[in-house]
């Protein structure tokens, strides 16, 4: 049985995953055999090529598998883990499958949190899972900077300007961060997997494409020392962007070349910084002030 795939982000019903013209279905499928699998995110998500045709495959242990057809512009989600709630599966499509499809179509899609500290401008926080990205992004949202997204951000270079568009507008927090930031806020919060998904009130009212003002790369929390921000050379910014970018087939030379060219353009056009701070909630107001000063805004309210 095949059914239309419902996405919980109601404000983007017509284009729920940032892929206009694509259909997303959930149903049964023959076991997806891959001619090759490539583990590429270190967090349990595999991508591969279908053995029986040109389709691409994505699967994450404990959630689901997806068969992606670029010919018919369709995604079939199947082999859903019995323990995986619908919300978790929808989020997985939004933050694991759709970004990889966009990347394959020539976009540079970064795993990052995004907020808008000033009208029509965005800053990104880039870090692997578990490095405090969502907590910092949630704190900045709670203290007045509209949240654009928490996972996948599509970057475009136009006329010497870089535009950022978040693909997924819910915030996913670990329980301790949620308790600190959102338990009193009355936000629509739902447990999904080991995290709590929070509907963000002001995301839908923010323009889709914002000028990217700065990139902040969060240090490893295990090595975080004194609070500081250091400007990075463009080549390091480029490498960090590429390491954080989504890819459906990392070994595809042409696609990798496209990502590298886009990352080079972004790195040359937008300042990038290494952000180091102790991971305690008490630090966050000071970190916010430091970020505001770095991008030329006033300090905390």
């Amino acid at each position: 049985m095949v059914q239309a795939f419902d996405h919980p982000s109601a404000s983007r019903d017509l284009d729920p995953f940032g892929l206009p013209g694509w259909s997303f279905r959930r149903g049964e499928a023959a076991p997806a055999r891959a001619s090759s699998w490539t583990w590429n995110d270190g967090c349990g998500t595999e991508t591969g090529k279908a053995e029986d045709g040109p389709d691409r495959l994505v699967r994450t242990e404990g959630i689901a598998s997806a068969r992606v057809s670029f010919e018919t512009r369709s995604v079939l989600v199947h082999d859903v883990d019995p323990e995986a709630e619908d919300e978790l599966v929808a989020q997985w499509v939004g933050d694991h499958v759709a970004p990889r499809i966009l990347s394959h179509l020539g976009h540079l899609v970064i795993h990052a949190g995004a907020v808008a500290p000033a009208p029509n401008s965005a800053v990104l926080f880039v870090a692997p899972s578990g490095h405090g990205k969502s907590t910092l992004t949630g704190y900045l949202h709670q203290t007045g900077w509209p949240l654009l997204g928490d996972d996948a951000v599509d970057l475009r270079h136009e006329d010497e300007t870089v535009l950022a568009r978040a693909l997924y507008t819910r915030l996913k927090l670990l329980p301790d961060a949620w308790a600190q930031l959102y338990s009193q806020a009355g936000a629509d919060s739902r447990p999904t997997g080991r995290k709590i998904s929070v509907a963000v009130g002001n995301a839908a009212s923010t323009p889709a494409d914002l000028r990217l003002q700065g990139l902040f790369f969060l240090s490893d929390p295990c090595q975080a020392g004194k609070r500081r921000i250091a400007r990075l050379p463009p080549s390091e910014v480029c490498i960090e962007l590429l390491r954080s970018s989504f890819a459906l087939d990392p070994a595809d030379r042409m696609k990798a070349g496209q990502r590298m060219r886009l990352a080079s353009l972004v790195a040359n056009a937008v300042p990038g910084y290494a952000l180091t701070y102790p991971r305690t909630f008490d630090e966050l107001p000071l970190v916010r002030a430091m970020i505001a000063e770095t991008i030329g805004l006033e300090g905390p309210r």
């Binding site: 590429n40 050379p233 463009p234 080549s235 390091e236 910014v237 480029c238 490498i239 590429l242 390491r243 990392p250 070994a251 030379r253 990798a256 070349g257 590298m260 060219r261 990352a263 080079s264 790195a267 040359n268």
Partner: protein, 92 residues
């Protein structure tokens, strides 16, 4: 020291590069690892791609930067060893 390196060293076909200002970012497709080259590294990499002999690269850079051939050679040895260790420079 430079003389000890094989004469047929060249950038790996699995290396993909992009210029970022005066520097270069290289992706090794085989291991999905990125490397950054500074200005001097970018210059040496460019000359390696043109198959310029190592001794000529050394002498050219020594003249351009106004330093001794021995100084440049020491930097080149470290750089070449890094490239070879990471599979970015291969025989052929």
């Amino acid at each position: 020291m430079i003389d000890a390196y094989p004469l047929d060293l060249s950038p790996s076909p699995e290396a993909l590069e992009s210029r970022v200002g005066d520097e270069t970012v290289i992706l090794h497709l085989g291991n999905d690892t990125y490397y950054g080259l500074d200005t001097l590294g970018t210059e040496i990499w460019g000359l390696l791609k043109e198959r310029v002999p190592l001794t000529e690269i050394r002498d050219r850079l020594a003249a351009d930067y106004g330093v001794s051939a021995a100084t440049i050679e020491a930097d080149m040895v470290r750089f070449l060893d890094d490239l070879m260790r990471n599979g970015l420079l291969v025989h052929g």
